[in-house]
């Protein structure tokens, strides 16, 4: 089995605000393996960003608070490290890319300085060596005229180019883990594809693990090795890409799949999951998804479902997997999609990963 590089166990994060306690993350557990890409998907507000910032301990405290759980990395529990120890991990061993490249660079500092800052912080290099390294990094992320670009400011770059710079900063010290929080959401479609391509490319070259956060299942299919589906602060289903795409078990995953726009099918109208995510100030009793779940069972309103194991790598938290539950099939749209994914994989000649 491949080496586990990061283990998150039963992580709970709350925000103490005026009105009470927002339970943004309510027991998240997952492992990250060396060299893999784990996608975390879910509607906006499901706690993806909070989880990922918590891994880097970037959440402001107060109002945020890690209530419970551990984050194990290189034998250390990150939730217990001092701020100073965290600083030597951030940017060096674990790096992060944020959603909006338009705002994630300092507007009054040259690109070069911003990259060199990260290099000089963690590596014992002279300024000249750091500059050389920064230029290399810019070339690595596909920015031409790197030497000239070093002296420029963020506003002189396009959105896609800025995101490349952000990636360069994140790669400055060859991190073991790269967390990308919706890195392409703010970009238009063609640029989006280029950035995804770049990330895959870099991963191949440098071999780090990636946690790829998105609300768009479409992106996941050709980026990720494994997928975790998040809802209302919990992981409700986790498995390999193939398992999630053609053997999804959780009705929420079905909803997400059904609402995916497909390129070859000019669907009349996009499906969207009815209702809205629960208020995490007062999370409902039982399964948080029940009020929106057409397949809800009586028990869903009373008891939270545990993680049921589907295969070695595939788990889902829904009572539908209980032996007493009625056997339900995913809705027709989803079944059709599942079939199409299977066909695509078959046509490519590969056998399902897993």
């Amino acid at each position: 089995m491949v080496e586990k590089i990061l283990q998150v166990n039963d992580l709970h994060i709350s925000f103490d605000i005026h009105a009470g306690e927002v339970q943004a993350v309510r027991g998240v557990t997952f492992d990250l393996y060396k060299g893999e890409t784990l996608a975390i998907v879910g509607e906006s507000g499901s706690g993806k960003s909070v989880t990922s910032k918590a891994l880097m301990r970037l959440l402001p405290t107060p109002p945020s608070r890690i209530k419970q759980g551990e984050i194990l990395f290189e034998g250390k529990d990150l939730t217990k490290l001092s701020e100073k120890d965290m600083q030597s991990i951030r940017g060096a061993k674990i790096s992060m890319i944020f959603q909006d490249p338009m705002t994630s660079l300092n507007p009054t500092m040259t690109i070069g300085k911003q990259i060199m800052e990260a290099i000089l912080k963690h590596q014992k290099l002279s300024k000249d060596e750091a500059r050389k390294r920064a230029i290399e990094l810019l070339q690595l992320v596909g920015i031409k005229n790197a030497e000239l670009r070093m002296k420029q400011y963020p506003h002189q770059f396009s959105g896609g180019m800025r995101q490349r710079v952000v990636i360069a900063i994140a790669l400055a010290c060859n991190p073991k883990i790269l967390i990308a929080d919706e890195p392409t959401t703010a970009l238009d479609v063609t640029i989006q594809a280029q950035i995804l391509e770049l990330m895959k490319d870099i991963q191949k070259k440098l071999g780090m693990s990636i946690i790829f956060i998105t609300h768009d299942l479409g992106v996941v299919a050709n980026m990720a090795d494994r997928v975790a589906v998040m809802y209302a602060g919990k992981i409700v289903e986790i498995g390999t890409v193939d398992e999630i795409f053609y053997n999804p078990k959780h009705p929420y995953t079905w909803g997400l799949l059904a609402s995916m726009p497909s390129l070859d099918h000019k669907d009349t109208e996009l499906y969207s999951i009815p209702g809205s995510p629960p208020d995490l100030l007062n999370p409902p009793k039982g399964d948080a998804f029940a009020p929106r779940n057409p397949y809800a069972l009586k028990i869903d309103y009373e008891l939270e479902p545990p993680m049921f194991q589907v295969s070695d790598t595939h788990y889902a938290a829904t009572w539908l997997l209980h032996e007493m539950a009625p056997k339900v099939e995913p809705p027709a749209v989803v079944r059709e999609r599942m079939k199409r994914f299977a066909d695509i994989v078959a046509r490519k000649g590969g056998k399902p990963r897993g």
Partner: protein, 340 residues
Amino acid sequence: MMAKQQYEQLSPEWFQPAPPNVGEQEKINRPSLTFWQDAWLRLRENKAAIVGLVMIIILTLMAIIAPMASDRTYKDQNLRHAKLPPKIPVLEHIHWLPFDGRDANGVDVYKQRGVKEYYWFGTDDLGRDLWVRTWYGTRISLYIGLLAALIDLLIGIAYGGISGYYGGRVDNVMQRIIEILNGIPYLIMVILFILIFEPGIISITLAMVITGWTTMARIVRGQVLKLKNMEYVLAARTLGAPTSRLIFKHLIPNVIGPIIITTMFTIPSAIFTEAFLSFIGLGIRPPEASLGSLVNDGYKSIQTYPHLMIIPAVVISLLILSFNLVADGIRDALDPKMRK
């Protein structure tokens, strides 16, 4: 993962399908407050703003009632009663309070001169009742504040609205005019106008009409421009969605919010300007009283009769402070983004 055993005794009955009732969906969501209810709730939680509001109410009531309730007027002179220190019934017995009718040397001036009446805030060098004059001056301050707000609302909104609504050349010209007006120091405009029209409340009013509304005009114009753009967006995508609700829930608050905030900040700065002008002798002329001119008069005898300066100074500061607190509170309540 989770221990399976603990779920083993579940009754099969619990596994009956129970899809949610879609109609109930809306009720599950927290009752959504309207923009104004929400803002009011936030304002109510802001203690400083509430203190300010209460102080404004008290000061306003005093300004209205005190001069009416007294049998002396702001200009009655009584030289026999000149320069009396403050003396207030009941409070006169609390010795550390400066309301016992004693002067700086501890002499009970009332007894010494055989004055039977009480002058709560004392009297000035012409024997005028400072209590009445202070509250009379507060009236003038409030009048100026109200007037400034009115000018903002009338001229500022009209100018900004027209400029933003028509856009193009009209907007361009109107904006250049504002830019020039802004280049001229406000105070200097006021002083020039007062020189032409003689000091007094009318001159101050006039000067404010000419110069006091540019900030409001700029803000309203900005909002109107934004609103225009939003209308296109709305038209494009609200097929079916109730436009009226969008207008009432988003557009109106968007425009009215900044208008209220700007107005609220205009008031204290207008009150300050009047007090300042009266202080340097360009505002209200004697025998009328303004808080600024009272403070100025008080200075002349600061060493011997400090109350003449301190009392109106405290009132004008409280007045401006209260309006600032309320303005801050309203801004925070209407614009949660600005609240930090």
